[in-house]
């Protein structure tokens, strides 16, 4: 086992969404898989190849060099600017179940020795929805990249904008798009990785603005929801509609990269775009 597969002992990065017990069932093919084996495969089902969802912490820990991650702004937490019924309770639940303050983790780390600003959205936290905090964190990490002249890598996994913050959530599309736009002007690379699922407001902002856009296999990627589209066009949509492979075929993304190859592909791109090397032995 490669050493980067092991989880670094970050305080904020928690083991979650893995049922206790030795065996787990693949959500796609139903095969019963030895838990250790699934974790060893980066939670890609060894039977059907299905990429199970990862939390933001888990994502960063399998992507970044061990002990390289330095988290930023971990203390930013959502308030309730609209006084939206039930929002505070939902936030409490999500914080308790994920151990994170909100749906994004951002910071600086390295991938195979290439230093980069990095962020990951957490679908387990209110569907990875983007409210003020997610928007603020994405903007801050982009500004950090700009300030330190680093590349930016963002892993998206989100249902879209966070309804409970109303139009303020919508404005996060503008805020994040403006922030990654500055990287473009400064000629700094921005790699966007779309994981299952990446939909709605996140696709309509920073996720689709990468210099290179990568998707994990089989991820759901699209703007409008399947049900809304089916109601509008009064037709059933094919199974593979809005998948990574569908997006690749329609020229919307650059490549589909299986999870075990992701680090290598990112490192290759970072090298091409001139990412700085970490000083080391």
């Amino acid at each position: 086992m490669l050493n980067w597969l092991r989880r670094p002992k970050h305080g904020r990065i928690s083991r979650r969404d893995m049922p206790a017990g030795l065996w787990v069932k693949c959500a796609r093919c139903g095969a019963t898989v030895y838990r250790k084996e699934l974790e060893g495969c980066l939670r890609v089902c060894p039977k059907c190849g299905w990429h199970h969802r990862l939390g933001a912490g888990e994502r960063l820990s399998i992507t970044l060099d061990e002990h390289s991650f330095e988290e930023m702004d971990a203390n930013l937490a959502s308030g309730d600017p609209l006084r939206f019924d039930g929002y505070r309770e939902k936030l409490q639940e999500a914080r308790a179940s994920t151990g994170n303050a909100d749906a994004a983790i951002v910071g600086v780390g390295s991938i195979e020795g290439y230093r980069t600003a990095v962020g990951a959205l957490d679908f387990m936290f209110m569907g990875g929805s983007m409210g003020s905090v997610v928007g603020e964190k994405i903007a801050r990490v982009a500004e950090r990249a700009l300030c330190d002249r680093l590349p930016l890598v963002i892993f998206s996994a989100s249902g879209g904008a966070r309804m409970q913050e109303g139009a303020l959530s919508l404005m996060q599309l503008a805020k994040t798009s403006a922030a990654v736009g500055r990287l473009h002007d400064a000629r700094l690379p921005y790699l966007s990785v779309m994981c299952d699922p990446t939909t709605g407001g996140v696709t309509a902002s920073f996720a689709f603005l990468g210099d290179v856009i990568i998707a994990e296999p089989g991820a759901l990627i699209g703007f409008a929801g399947r049900r809304v589209i089916e109601q509008t066009i009064r037709r059933k949509l094919p199974e593979r509609f809005q998948t990574s492979e569908f997006c690749l075929e329609h020229g919307l993304i650059d490549m589909v990269v299986p999870r075990p190859e992701m680090r290598g592909v990112l490192a290759r791109l970072l090298r091409f775009f001139g990412a700085p090397r970490v000083a080391g032995p």
Partner: protein
Amino acid sequence: MTRVLPERDRAVEARAAEMEAQLAGIGREIEALRRRGEKDRPEVAAQIRALEARCDELRDALLSLRTAWQAVALARHPQRPKAQEFVKALLDDFTELHGDRLFRDDPAMLVGLGWFEGQPVVAMAPCKGRDTRENIACHFGMPHPEGYRKALRAMRLAEKFGCPVLSVVDTPAAFPGDAAEERGQAEAIARNIGELARLRAPVLVVITGEGGSGGALAIAVGDVVLMMEHAVYTVIPPEGCAAILWRDAGRAREAAAALRLTAQEIAALGIADEIIPEPRGGAHVDPQAAMAAVREALRPRLRSLVNLPVEELLLRRYAKYRAMGYHEEQS
């Protein structure tokens, strides 16, 4: 950073709901009287007139309560002046441009060149139809990616010739369809938002009706965002919000209140810079007056923006959107 909104006035919301129920009740009564076929008898006619007068009173009272649902209804009113009508009324010598040069011309998006009181501007506006036939042609004002890409072409022209962009916004949403997805609806919207944030030309936005989520924002990132009194701006339609929250699209009225989508609330959140007053009863009551009010509001804004150096403009625009949001710091 944005301020927290004050609590909703639930007493007012309850009163409005009660009035709407009364209105519906009286409507049914009038209907029943008419159906009885005796509406020509003087005492029945008088009864109907009295009920109708009561309806007018209730509607007036309801309007003064300014509930979110009222705003949604007015913003969607079929007789509300259309965004394209505003563009054509506000600009002289308007020349429409067509096509995104990539796929096709989207009838749901109007772009063109014209003069606002002697100042050349590039205009864009989604198009809602005036009747069903028109609405089917222009997808009820919901653009496809080619519509947003046509708008992007217009923005580029504005940048090239250093003239301001005027965006008049009234759209329920970006079109949710399979073809739109295949052609990259998300990418088209993201691209426009990112480009508008950095466009080297002044951008003025007027939200005249529905500011429907990303589909609206794709043409609504600007230096100045004005909003008509009964326009709404929302991240999700109230029906969709209710369907997700309570699995009941019928509770859209409650969702509309929760989303804080009225012009007054959007301005309080710092998202709209100014509210343009509408004729009593809404813009459809007197479209000419509504257009004149928009013209008055635009004039000083446009004048001050065209005098700003472009670098200053860009810094201010970035700072404006950068500051939008509300968060807390946990210890």
